[in-house]
């Protein structure tokens, strides 16, 4: 089959996968489309069976790791960790919106780094809304903080974002070294977000004149918090010892699961659902589809487009290209496309991760197409104007990209890759 035809079919398959994600038809999860299309590309020999098997073999452990993290987060939620986090921020905020924002930044950044962005969006955001509402404070800045930090605070560890987990192997870095190099960009980006939020939401953050209610006491899920912290330590230890860190996550999730099985609070079915199997299968299908797109032209194009130097301007350019791509096609395929270009140096892979992880805050809904489509549909009756989202995105994303890459450059110059 000629390259152009193969590339066109592969691109069409990717467009259909992304189109389903944008249109989001009810009862048609992305996996139901991505997996058959991946199979079709193999059947047409646009992706050879060997390459597809290699790709699935490469993605398999990553996806398994993700499943274990998702299970750990859901089990921690069932143990009351997020509810307790909400009570903690309510108590410490003492009725004041600015204190609440600072605490939400602290906890949302920690949750995202330790339990992945899924945990922040799905599990922590509703808790933050309920917390602000129960304190009779305006929830807007705090809910937006969660949605922003789910992306921008996912820089720290390979487990914080699937994009980082996918790219971790190509960096050639250890778990600890990855964290050490991304610590400074992580802090710098969070600081930029905080400054922007204080400015953008200044009216909503005005001091409250009502006396702070005494937020009652909630149960302290000490056991689950200890397990989560030990799992994090486990990632570093197993990684340093050359053992795949998926075992640390599996052990952490396993310990809580056994405890909940024993008290009959958990069924095997619920445990399986918490790993989000449909999502895991989707990632494998998407991997094969993107492989088809990359192998027949796009990979070479990206390799030409992306710089091959570790100088600061090259890192900035890489981050910007990655961020633009993430807004055009969603950051998961963007990561797979950028990685296929074979970035020559860990510095460039980390810069690209800053781009794909911070970039989505521009369009919120994963891509500009999704944002516009949801606006057209107005399914929720009163969908907010696109401009509201873009303004905050424009205020934070360009500054966070530049500051994040600068911080990465400083880190690399200090401790080296």
């Amino acid at each position: 089959m000629p390259q152009a035809v193969a590339e066109s079919i592969a691109i069409a398959a990717l467009v259909i996968v992304l189109g389903v994600a944008v249109v989001a038809p009810p009862r048609l999860p992305e996996a139901v489309v991505a997996v058959p299309l991946g199979g079709l590309l193999v059947a047409l020999r646009i992706v050879s069976p060997d390459d597809a098997a290699t790709e699935i073999g490469r993605l398999g452990p990553t996806v398994g790791f993700l499943a274990a993290i998702l299970a750990l987060a859901h089990l921690a939620d069932a143990e009351g960790v997020f509810e307790a986090a909400g009570a903690f921020v309510a108590r410490r905020a003492r009725g004041q919106p600015i204190r609440l924002l600072g605490l939400v930044f602290l906890v949302a950044s920690a949750v995202t780094a330790a339990l992945s962005l899924d945990a922040t969006v799905v599990l922590f955001t509703p808790v933050v809304f309920a917390t602000a509402a129960s304190m009779r404070l305006r929830a807007r800045p705090h809910v937006y903080a969660c949605t922003h930090l789910a992306n921008s605070a996912s820089l720290l560890l390979p487990i914080s974002n699937l994009t980082s987990l996918l790219a971790f192997g190509s960096t050639g870095l250890s778990f600890l070294r990855f964290g050490a190099l991304m610590a400074l960009p992580w802090l710098a980006v969070i600081a930029v977000e905080y400054a922007a939020f204080r400015f953008y939401f200044r009216a909503d953050l005005r001091a409250s004149h009502q006396p702070a209610d005494d937020a009652g006491t909630t149960r302290q899920p000490v056991f689950a918090v200890v397990v989560v912290v030990l799992s994090l330590v486990g990632f570093a230890v197993t990684s340093a010892a050359g053992v795949p860190p998926v075992w640390a996550a599996t052990a952490g999730a396993g310990v809580i699961a056994v405890r909940r099985f024993a008290s009959r609070a958990l069924t095997p079915r619920r445990l399986l659902e918490s790993t989000n199997p449909a999502f895991c299968v989707f990632v494998l299908g998407l991997g094969v589809v993107v492989l088809g797109v990359n192998d027949h032209g796009l990979g070479r194009l990206m390799a030409r487009l992306l710089p091959d130097s570790t100088a600061l301007p090259a890192m900035l350019l890489t981050a910007v290209i990655a961020a633009v791509l993430a807004n055009l096609v969603n950051n998961l395929p963007a990561t797979l496309v950028v990685l296929a270009a074979g970035l020559g140096h860990p510095a460039l892979v980390l810069a690209a991760l800053i781009g794909v992880n911070v970039g989505p805050n521009l369009s919120y809904a994963g891509s500009l197409a999704t944002l516009l489509w949801r606006r057209i549909l107005r399914r929720r009756g009163a969908e907010p104007a696109v401009g509201d989202f873009l303004r905050l995105g424009l205020l934070t994303v360009p500054a966070a990209l530049v500051v994040g890459v600068l911080a990465l450059w400083v880190g690399l110059s200090t401790i080296g890759a």
């Binding site: 994600a21 989001a24 999860p29 992305e30 996996a31 991505a34 962005l117 899924d118 969006v121 799905v122 955001t125 509703p126 809304f129 309920a130 509402a133 129960s134 009779r136 404070l137 305006r138 929830a139 807007r140 809910v143 937006y144 969660c146 949605t147 200044r202 009216a203 909503d204 005005r206 409250s208 004149h209 009502q210 659902e273 989000n276 199997p277 449909a278 999502f279 989707f282 990632v283 998407l286 969603n330 950051n331 998961l332 395929p333 989505p360 369009s363 919120y364 809904a365 891509s367 999704t370 944002l371 949801r374 929720r380 009756g381 009163a382 969908e383 907010p384 104007a385 509201d388 989202f389």
Partner: protein, 195 residues
């Protein structure tokens, strides 16, 4: 008399107290609360942006919308308790500033609290939403400070006049009042050096 009161988190107590002070005892009081739609929108969008998760996890935007309804009711319960008499309720979701203007249609009075800088008198004491509501209100507006109003002296002095344009001896600047007659006056500025 129909008095519409905009109940917003962090400022609502002042509005309730203003109703007690200024509205007639037999006035119909309507408490309006608007949950900004972009709050649940942000949660919906964040979830939609996570490719491939639809199907298993619950959309956090739905959870937020559900608890928004409950918390609005709770806030209006507290407002009605502070008011000390029965009031009508108007709970909405949407663009806050436009919903409030819409709710004030046909009212005899709209009670609004400032929500910006409360350290000094001036335009920054109105955030974007009260600003829009005050500018577009279809009825008389009672605009209240959420706490004690700042002193009149908090208004910044007028900008300096361009150099070289001295005013005559009989001129009295009303903004210099707080310095009194014996206060130190700014000495006339020397002419700018030429060349």
């Amino acid at each position: 008399m129909r008095v519409v009161v905009w109940i917003a988190e962090q400022t609502w107590e002042a509005c309730i107290d203003a109703v007690a002070t200024w509205a007639a005892d037999d006035a119909t009081v309507v408490l309006v609360h608007v949950t900004p739609s972009d709050v649940q929108g942000a949660a919906h969008h964040a979830f939609a942006g996570m490719l491939g998760r639809r199907g298993t996890d619950a959309d956090p935007g739905d959870t937020v919308a559900h608890s928004a309804a409950a918390s609005a009711t709770g806030l209006l319960d507290a407002a009605e308790a502070r008011l000390g008499r029965a009031a009508e309720r108007d709970i909405r979701i949407g663009r806050v500033e436009r919903e409030v203007v819409d709710a004030a249609d046909g009212a005899d009075l709209l009670v609004v609290a400032r929500d910006g800088d409360d350290a000094r008198l001036g335009p920054k004491s109105l955030g974007p939403h009260p600003r829009f509501v005050v500018d577009h209100a279809p009825c008389p507006v009672l605009l209240v400070w959420p706490g004690a109003a700042p002193a009149v002296g908090s208004i910044p002095p007028p900008p300096d006049r361009p150099p070289g344009k001295h005013h005559g001896p009989g001129h009295h600047d009303p903004h210099d009042r707080e310095h009194g007659h014996h206060g130190r006056r700014r000495p006339p500025e020397p002419p700018a050096p030429q060349g």
